[in-house]
Symmetry: C2
Subunit: 350 residues, 2 copies
DNA sequence: CTCGCCACGTAGAACGGTATACGTAGAACG
DNA sequence: CGTTCTACGTATACCGTTCTACGTGGCGAG
């Protein structure tokens, strides 16, 4: 088995930093410096090394780097694959990472704190340079401990006090307020809020924040006694069951505000099944303004918080923090209501 | 800085295999053998080591493993985030990986061959133990070269000849045939196929395979002259434009078969915008039977190929291959038509 | 008794980078 | 002209595993 075969004979023939160094006639350390844009290399040497890298097609070995330096890989924890809003966020992150060396390691925790913790451990084992978490449920304490070990950015969590990680959010109470005000202006009165079940009663969760905004706005509108909050499980089916239950009751609401579009689409479906006309008999409003809202068969009024921007900013903040920033930053998007046919106004009956 | 502090003092204090070895009173190599379930350790030693591992809370460092052995990380290449079918597949993969040590590194290539190639390189840099590709567009030659370097499983590609990777597919020509037969039986005649634009004309792509089945079935039904194939771009907007164009033409089809549900939902939307009733004026059929088909406002007839099963099998095959299997295997699912209201039959006008 | 083998462990060399400490030459300064 | 500083490179320890090669003790066979 001569190793001077013509074709790159698969396995074991990877070009290493040593090959580059000898090709360029410099030390291994010099090549490493060029790779990392580190201090103390002249332009001439840099050019020489870059030429060798290109000529040989050298690519640094991520695991080897990870032993002392960075892995150039970021962990991304997502609660649920099927909610299209998370795809928007992921899209934003990908955009931010496009021109960098970073890659994304995905974890899907199915909104289970235990699974989330296990996946986070696995990410730490893999020496992620940083983590992006969405709507984490591991709790404030665990989160703080995590951020102590590894640069972290959290999307969709409103921490109570100052913390050692960055956050990216929209103003959830405001978003909920916009919904209530819009529905009231359109003529709806009995507005229910369909939220998500939580095993922990955590004020930091966005669903809870939206509930706060909803309750306040209802009171503000003089509709305090019409306040109705329902908590549905994680899955489509559970949400469906809960929605059916809600809409079949004697004194059903004339509007349902859902914590996320994904669930609102289920409510639209249930309403149609029950023969309720939207928006005549029932208004439905979602949150996130995902692409499905735009489809004519949904025409779903929703709150835009721009997942793209959220993801992009999260990635930006994380990379800054990896770069050495210590002080935490908190990015906040102002939500915007996008009105569509699903909340156009109730039919008045004499 | 005593290293016997109570709280795990962040950084640099990670427990290594050496700590475990000294705690258990054995050699580092022995611990490594236990970790890998390798040959040549007695039950007694194994128990001793396991006890130390548990006591210390030791976790192996993935990057260090990657230098000589496996990284226990798999690369997963997905063409597009927003197509919910890919979420189903990812769900299946995650299920298969749940009880293993493997994690998933995600790449989103936006159906761009150049991006896909770049991401694949990044995955190789990170020493993935194996790769799962969906609907890859890098071409047969590149694919073969890739699989030569790294264990690979490909979903939704039908290779012409025998190859050095495993595949997981559904029978796409059959799926398309089922659609045509169903629509014909329901009374539709002018059935168009809305496919996806491709930069490469590759018979291996599933969209092409479905086209083959569609054309054959149309001929079989004596509708050869009604064959109409339209190619839409990757994005929602492009698909929408193409659908609008198709449905506004003088001699518009009375049924549209879409290569994936995601696009079919757009067609439903366009139909509604144009005032066409579904299924009276127009039948719409999708592919993949994603969860959105079930919503009452869509009620979309579709072909079920079970993304869950596809993903699960892909992961299984890949792990087998990583385990040493050389011979390629090809898993094929038989597609099943799920009829819903969107193809219930045209309104007959005198 | 001696040889060879087996089962179990160990020592130490990889793996491919990064980080640190240090050497050296030329410039600036007094 | 000697000293100090700065800019640039280099040599080498080190990261935490896996893997190869080898040592050792016990045991059955010749």
């Amino acid at each position: 088995m001569g190793d001077n075969s013509l074709a790159p004979r698969a396995k074991s023939e990877r070009i290493t930093i040593r090959d580059v160094a000898s090709d360029a006639g410099v030390s291994v350390a010099a090549v490493s410096k060029v790779l990392r844009d580190a201090y103390g290399v002249s332009e001439a040497l840099r050019a020489k090394v870059r030429a060798s890298i290109d000529r040989l097609g050298y690519r640094p070995h991520a695991a080897a780097r990870g032993m002392r330096g960075q892995t150039y890989t970021l962990g991304f924890m997502i609660p649920d694959l099927h909610n299209p809003f998370f795809a928007d966020i992921l899209g934003g992150i990908n955009t931010a990472l496009e021109r960098t060396q970073y890659q994304l390691l995905l974890g899907v925790c199915e909104s289970e704190p235990a699974t989330e913790r296990a996946l986070l451990e696995a990410m730490i084992d893999r020496r992620m340079d940083g983590l992006i978490l969405i709507g984490s449920r591991i709790g404030a304490e665990h989160l703080a401990a995590l951020a102590d070990r590894i640069p972290t950015t959290v999307i969709a969590i409103h921490p109570k006090s100052d913390v050692n990680y960055d956050t990216v959010n929209n103003d959830d109470p405001l978003g909920a307020t916009l919904v209530v005000q819009h529905l009231v202006a359109a003529g709806y009165r009995h507005i229910a809020y369909l939220s998500q079940q939580m095993n922990i009663n955590d004020k930091a969760m966005v669903t809870r924040q939206r509930e706060v905004g909803y309750r306040a706005a209802m009171k503000e509108a003089g509709l305090a006694r019409n306040i109705q909050v329902v908590y549905a499980g994680q899955t489509r089916r559970e949400a469906q069951t809960e929605a059916r239950h809600l809409l079949e009751q004697r004194n059903r609401p004339d509007a349902v505000f859902c914590w996320t579009d994904f669930i609102a689409l289920e409510v639209l479906s249930v309403a149609r099944d029950l023969g309720l006309s939207v928006p005549g008999d029932l208004a439905v409003v979602g949150y996130d303004n995902t692409s499905y809202c735009d489809l004519a068969q949904n025409a779903l009024t929703s709150i835009d918080q721009s997942g793209q921007v959220l993801g992009l900013q999260a990635a930006r903040l994380l990379i800054e923090r990896i770069g050495g920033r210590e002080k935490s930053e908190h990015y906040m998007v102002t939500p915007r209501l996008v009105a569509r046919a699903s909340s156009a106004g109730p039919t008045r009956r004499a």
